[in-house]
Structure formats: C-alpha cells, structure tokens
Symmetry: C2
Subunit: 432 residues, 2 copies
Amino acid sequence: MTSGTTPSATPSRAKVSRRGLIGGGAAAAGVAGAFAAGRWATPEEHAVTAVHASSYPFCGEQQAGIVTPVQDRLHFVALDVTTDDRDELIDLLRRWTDAAARMTRGASAGPVGPVEGSALLPPDDTGEAIGLSASGLTITFGFGPGVFLDADGNDRFGLADRRPAALEPLPHFAADALDPRRTGGDLCIQACADDPQVAVHAIRNLVRIGFGTTAVRWSQLGFGRTSTTSNAQTTPRNLFGFKDGTHNVKLEETADLADHVWVGAGDDAAADWLVGGSYLVTRRINMTIEVWDRQPLGDQELFVGRTKDSGAPLTGGGEFTKPDFAQQVGDQPVIPVDAHVRVVHPDQHGGIRMLRRGYNFVDGSNDIGGLEAGLFFIGYVRDPRTHFIPIQRAMAAQDALMEYLKFTGQALFAVPPGVREGEYVGQALFAS
Amino acid sequence: MTSGTTPSATPSRAKVSRRGLIGGGAAAAGVAGAFAAGRWATPEEHAVTAVHASSYPFCGEQQAGIVTPVQDRLHFVALDVTTDDRDELIDLLRRWTDAAARMTRGASAGPVGPVEGSALLPPDDTGEAIGLSASGLTITFGFGPGVFLDADGNDRFGLADRRPAALEPLPHFAADALDPRRTGGDLCIQACADDPQVAVHAIRNLVRIGFGTTAVRWSQLGFGRTSTTSNAQTTPRNLFGFKDGTHNVKLEETADLADHVWVGAGDDAAADWLVGGSYLVTRRINMTIEVWDRQPLGDQELFVGRTKDSGAPLTGGGEFTKPDFAQQVGDQPVIPVDAHVRVVHPDQHGGIRMLRRGYNFVDGSNDIGGLEAGLFFIGYVRDPRTHFIPIQRAMAAQDALMEYLKFTGQALFAVPPGVREGEYVGQALFAS
C-alpha cells in the first residue's frame, strides 16, 4: 500500500482539529485540562464544528507528498545542519517526525499548544494555524549530499559509506544562473497544503524545532500547482498561460511509479536504506514574463508545441493525445524540432518519465520592475543521472522556451521511504 | 448602495466563466466563433460546468475591495507613471477600467482572449487564469502624491490644484527602516481574490496594459487575511499567532464607515472628486518571528493585551468584550500601559477607527536564515492625518510589540469613489 494517496477525514481530525482550541464557555475547563496534559482537546472535552477538510496520514510505505494529489500551495525549505553530533541529528529527526505526524492530522506542532498550564514557557506551537483545518497538509523530508560528506569532505555523521552514488551535486547546465543563496542544502522539508497559512505554519514550526541544530539556507513559497499526480485532478496552468504537467506520472500508474519514481531494491547496494524512497530535484525557474507576453500566440504555441487553449499537441486531438512528431507541413515538422514538448518527450529519452509537483511563484518585483516570477520545479525520480540530467541537458541545449527562462536555484535530495509507526524519518539510514 | 459588499453568482459569471475556454467537442465551433469575434463564449455557444464561486461587480458607489468581505489572497502593486501626457494617463485609466470590469466578472483582460482569430498578435490576456472562476476578485485603484506633483515639483498632468491636502507623503515614524524600493508610488492597484492565481493574473495583465505608460515600483503578495470586514467572517490570525482585526470597522457599520472611512462632502474643497472615496495606507511590517517564538506565552499575551487562545482581553470575557483598561492587579493595570490593544485603542485616540484589510506575507528567507515574513498592513481611512498618523506615532513610541516589528515599506494613496457604468476610474479628477 502506498500511503498518502487517499484523502480521508479521519475521525480524530474531523472532530477535533485545531478548532479544538477555539470557543470556550462550558468546554473551557476541558480544553485547559487537555493542554495541561500536553495534548489537544478531545471531542468529549470540546464540542466543535466539523471541519470540511481532508487529512493524509504521515506514516506509510512511502512518504506522503509525492504521489499525494498535489495540493494548491507550497512552502519548501532547505536547511544546513549546524551540528557535527550524530545523536543531535537523530534527535532532531525524531522530533520532526513527531511534529509532522501531529500537524498533518491538524494538531499543534508539539504536545504543549499555545494555551497551556504554565505561561512561563514559550508554547510548543506558534499558533497561527489555530482554527484552520489540516487542509490536506503533507510534510516530506529529504537528505542532501552534505549529510554524507560536508563541503570540506568530512564524514560528520559516519554516513559516508551509505551515500547514494546518485546523490552528487547536479552538474552545471548551459544558461544556468544559479544564486548560491537559493541552491543546495543538507536537508529539505516540503510542506504542501490547500491553505498557505497551514503550509507556512508547518515549516515555521519545524524550523523552530531545528533551531540550534539546523539553519535555514533558503526557502520558497508556491501558490499554484503546475502538475497533477492523480487522474482525479484537472491539469493546471503555469505562468506562460499553458497547461502544465499533462503527461505527469500519476498515482494510479503503479507500474510506472515503480519503474521511474521509487528507488528499487537493487539500484544501489550502498544505499539500501533508500529503497522505496526517491530523489527530489528542485529548480527555481524564473520566467521573463513581460517578454513572453509580447510574443504572438502562434509563436507561443510553436515554442511549446501545444495549443494554449486546450493543451492539445499542434498535430491535433485533445490534451491527452500523443503528439505526432513525424507530421509535416511542407518539408517542416508541425511540431518544430525545438518545441518544448518534443525536446523533453519520453520518446526522445528512452521512455523515461518523472513525477513533477512544481508550483508557480511570484516573489514580488525584480530590479527592473518585472515580475520576479516563474515555476519552482520539483521532480521526483528513481535516479537523477538517468531520469533528470539528460532531459535537463537536452532542454538547455535545444528548447525554444530557454529564451524565456532563467534558472536561479537548484538542489538535490535523497528522500527516504515512508515512516512506520514508532520510527523516525530516515531511521534506516542510521541503523547500525 | 455600497457596491461590492454582496457576493453574487451573477448569471453570466456562473454559466460562462473562464471555463468557457475549456473543453470543446460539440461547442468548439461556437467557442472559436466567440474568440474570432473578440469575446469569450456565451452560454449558448458553450455549455460548461457551473462554477462554485462568487463575483463582485466592478461598478458601484464605492470601489469594491474596501468593505467587500476580505478575500483570502492579495497581490498589490505600486507603479510610477512614466509619461507626462495627461491624455495617455486618461487612456490608461480607461483601459484599466475596462480590463478590471472584465476580469472581476471572470472574463479575460481584453476583448481578444488567448485564443483568437489571428495567431500573429499577442493575445490580450496572458491565459494563466483560464479555467479558474472569478474567485471573488476585486480590483481597487488609488492615486499617489506623484500624480499631482512629481518629485521635482512639476504639475505634469495639470492636477496640482486638485491635490487632496491629506495626500502628503507620510512622516518618518520612530524605528522606521523603510526600503525606498518598497515605498511610495504614483498609482496603486490592489487585487484581492480567494485564488492567488486569479489575483496575480489580474495584476500581471493590468501592469501589461500599462507598459510604456507606467512602470512597476514595488509589489507585494499576501496569503492570509488579517482582518474581517463583515460580521459574517471569523477573525483570522496573524503570524504572531494572535487573532487580528477583532474590532475592525465592518461593512454592516454604515454610520462608522461614513464617519471614519469614506471621505465626506465637506472634507476638502480642492478634492471634491474624492468624496465617497477613501485614503489607503500601506505599511510593510516585518516580524522578527524567531525572537517572538522564544517568548513565554504569558509575555506574548501581555505584549498584545489579549489571550492567544480566544482573543479575549486580559481583563476577561470573550473576543468581542471591551477591554477594561482600569482593572488592576495590585497596583498594576491588568492590561499593561504598553500593551498593543491599549496603545492603539480608539479610547486613546478620540474614538477614531480605521478599516484594515491587511495580509500575512512570507517572502522566503532573509539574510540570516530567518523568515522574511510579517504583516502587510492596508488601512482605509477618511483622513490619514487624523485616522492613521496619530495611532502610528503612539505605536512607535509606546507599543510593546515594537521590539518584534520592523517597518520596511509604506505608501499613501487617494482612492477615488466607485465607477459608474460608462465612466473610467477617477474620471471626476480629470473633469474640467
């Protein structure tokens, strides 16, 4: 069973939720008692309005937030580990696991909520999500190269012999303009939810738990998903105005997930702890929106290889019709040789696929008054050497869209498999 | 009648919407015909799924987006006018009015949608909102001081004698650390919607229409409202984790709106064009989140003067109970003299109130790995000299919260009254 694929209004979630804190009156003593006992109010202690929202279990065979139907909003953070102490790192992962399990079911980040017995201590939870539902929150953790060997080549945590061979820093791609302040990281946390305040709350509280052990390297918010991971979802649009992610790997395609997304048992003998996990690639892709907007519709469609309206390939049919790359008009292909859909199509790359769950972003205005905007690419792949780097190389070399893109950040993480009850995330990595 | 206060699924909206572009099949010819004719499909041309969303009319006595029940998301932009030609400015306002009226009812920004007869021209609309509902979009325009007298004191548009006396650049407040790149502006556009992609689409297309006449000075996205403007809404929380905007002026309080928000007929003889409008103050308020999160709950509540859980004043009752500033414990007031609720309370300022519709923001991480986050304050007042500056001065001088705040941007705009059918926004300002 793959976890995190089926939204479920869990009984505890639907009846308790963060709303357990709201209200008062007759139930106030019960609520106070719950907090004094280090937990949120139970239904018996506090009758609350049922929340119309879904939640995803944190535990499962795979981490939630990969094949989970893509939520609308993202807060992603990359952190550096500031300790050299293996036990401190393990302790952090334990505390993160506990907090993530709590928050994904709609509870506070820690056992002591914002309202508790003693006012003399800071609450475990920062409080801004009180009254909000779980909002489909998923929290997904990954390990960057620096956990295995730091920048000076030191094996801080005794993990060097377990480093996955594929977890090399990504190569330089043509036209990259990476900002070191938006690149790399020892650890990552991806929080997705249908309410941005819930995603922000999750990252903020996890970062807070890591204070003294980790430091934020960079973070990124996203406001509109740019792919689907379930056949139940409709295809969204990116900031070029085109449908994006039409041929994404979906949770219903279990065979392709096994072939292209999940790390297999024989993939890497040194990294057996990663079996059932995946690799997460991020690329911050700025779009030169204002220039794009001045291109004629026909040119935009030739760059992409699809129509703007329906998303159908220029060779006809509907959104999900396979492009006919051989079709010609005169002696020219209908879908140009540099059209995005052709350059990155699985047919050009031995049939490989990836699972994308990126987001649109707008981070205000840039220095010349344009939108600081684009697509924060997130791809999950079985092996970045076969499933990402070749496609990115082809795109950098040939893709007509490159004229309207600028790559300003990137990172690669190994995403361990799901967490079983009582374990912490990544536990197999630290097993002796 | 005040416009923009009542959500209504207008017939054209509910049946057509941007979804009119999606799908195809039997209706495809009709849709294509509509685009060839430079408009969106009608219900007869394209049967579509009804959209569960509300829309607000653009025209009305006041501009929508002030008393309109606060939507969940914001995109705000401040622009400088780059022309000295009065007719060009008027033409821009006409085109903005037309586009805003279209987009707020869920249509494209211009008569030629992303799919049109000729592929040789850029579409009038950038396309990323195709398939999304109107999402409660409101678009609100304002005029900054530079429209009346530019930085060099020139009366570029012949409007100097119509400048409202209250439209002076705001004074320096203690502890301000304003970034010039986040301050001021000749014009502003506030787009609020329940879907951020819809708000971003609106600003992007309006900025695009202004290309060559205006340049973006700064912009700000917000993801969680921090106030309510209707008794039908529950009070949200800011990033300190506290309820915010409990005692905001609500659309139901028409007498207080007339007294404190709308410019009155006798307020300013030179600026009769502004009667029925308002002044819009923005302040970008960074919160030092990480320091705040280390404060004990009891201290946080003393700084605010309210409980974190229910939002009730520390002197008891519920969220909407009036604070008892005289109540003491021993010889000390229960609500300290520097508690935020006391410092800014109408009782301290002659009973004046303001209408706030600010938003939480998180713009990634700052230079030291903290959250670049806080509250983007938006306040609508009848006169900033009486209704904003004294309160901000008191806050800067006395408020315990100031230790956790940094003011990084600000602006002031005169917001003209609503637009009548056939007029353009601000038309009375240019009447001879």
